[in-house]
Subunit: 190 residues, 2 copies
DNA sequence: TACGTTTGCCTAGGAGCCCTAGGCAAACGA
DNA sequence: TCGTTTGCCTAGGGCTCCTAGGCAAACGTA
């Protein structure tokens, strides 16, 4: 009757990512995505093998988008400026795209990642950033983990309302960045 | 036929928490809990209003357990020792009880919290801990957020395998604690 | 232009889950 | 001893995931 929507794996995944940002990643459902296209749910299964795969593809998409943002934010900066740009890009992505950001948390083996067409992320802009702080292994790894943990924890608590206090979260954020910079600058050894 | 299992809201919630630790919080299902008791799923609805409420109750239970652990860990300690004990209690709870820990992330209004019988958590042992670092508001709040973010982010990334590097995570953990202590000791102002 | 072939969405249907309504028997209180 | 309450039951509706098989539109080829 009506014209065919012209689905494809990419369009389905994009719609799922959009939906995830709107209603939450774990409320993303094959049926709901199908409804968005005005199509029966069974029709999506020629583009995506299962709900599980759909979610994994959203995760890959989101991880690449995040890496892209962080990558461009870092270009031409170093030291504290780089750190700030990194953190700002990270946080803004998470807040603008809560569903996508949540998707990144699901665990994917490197093989599965490649199967789904995920590109290399250069093992992370994090190490590039930390090079500017003059760390050597294994301190670099420890510092990288510390940095990512703090950023991830911050946006996660912010999203989930874990910061109940009347002081607005954006007011605390710069302090966190200052603390982070200081910690990385004087990373404790021994 | 067989004797009645003798269900109750508390037993159902406890079983759900157990199940969450075993199979993951978002795989907790009314049917599965019912199966565990050898009972039809409809039977649970006299003890728990809905799946949503069941999850909320697990969240309250978990939050109180965590607060209890942290509380006893802090008793009689101060300064860096208190920080270490706090962090260790926090992390060990999250790793031993991944499902419960995950449950805490769900957002509950204070009213809902009270409805479900949640007790006061004294607004947090975090502030008690930070008192030892001589901070004043609003730095205390900022530092508390930083501390919780780092801990939460750390165990979260550790659980989800976000730390891919060959260096084992437990090797990095003490560095993180040292960094945290140093940061809190010299919390940057202005 | 005519005719396979492929593509894209369809209907039908099974299984699992959430949840409501109403029933029946065991346990309890007077 | 006899209501009354309690605790689990069956029945059933609606939504979801996913498979199997069908049909018609679009495409490639002669």
């Amino acid at each position: 009757m009506t014209a065919r929507p012209g689905l494809s794996t990419d369009r389905v995944v994009a719609a799922a990512a959009e939906l995830a940002d709107q209603v939450g990643f774990d409320k993303v459902t094959v049926s709901a995505v199908a409804r968005g296209f005005g199509v029966k749910d069974a029709s999506l299964y020629s583009h995506v093998r299962s709900l599980r795969e759909l979610r994994e593809r959203v995760a890959v998409l989101a991880a690449e988008e995040l890496a892209g943002r962080v990558g461009t934010a870092l270009m031409g900066r170093s030291g504290q400026q780089a750190l700030t740009a990194f953190a700002e890009a990270y946080r803004s992505f998470a807040l603008e795209h809560p569903g996508r950001y949540r998707a990144i948390e699901i665990r994917l083996t490197p093989e599965r990642w490649a199967e789904l067409g995920g590109r290399q992320l250069g093992v992370d802009h994090t190490y590039a950033l930390l090079r500017g702080y003059g760390l050597t292994e294994p301190a670099t790894t420890d510092a990288a983990r510390f940095l990512l943990a703090t950023l991830h924890g911050y946006v996660n608590l912010e999203r989930h309302g874990g910061f109940d206090h009347p002081r607005p979260v954006p007011a605390s954020w710069p302090s966190a960045l200052r603390a982070l910079h200081q910690t990385l600058s004087t990373w404790p050894t021994e």
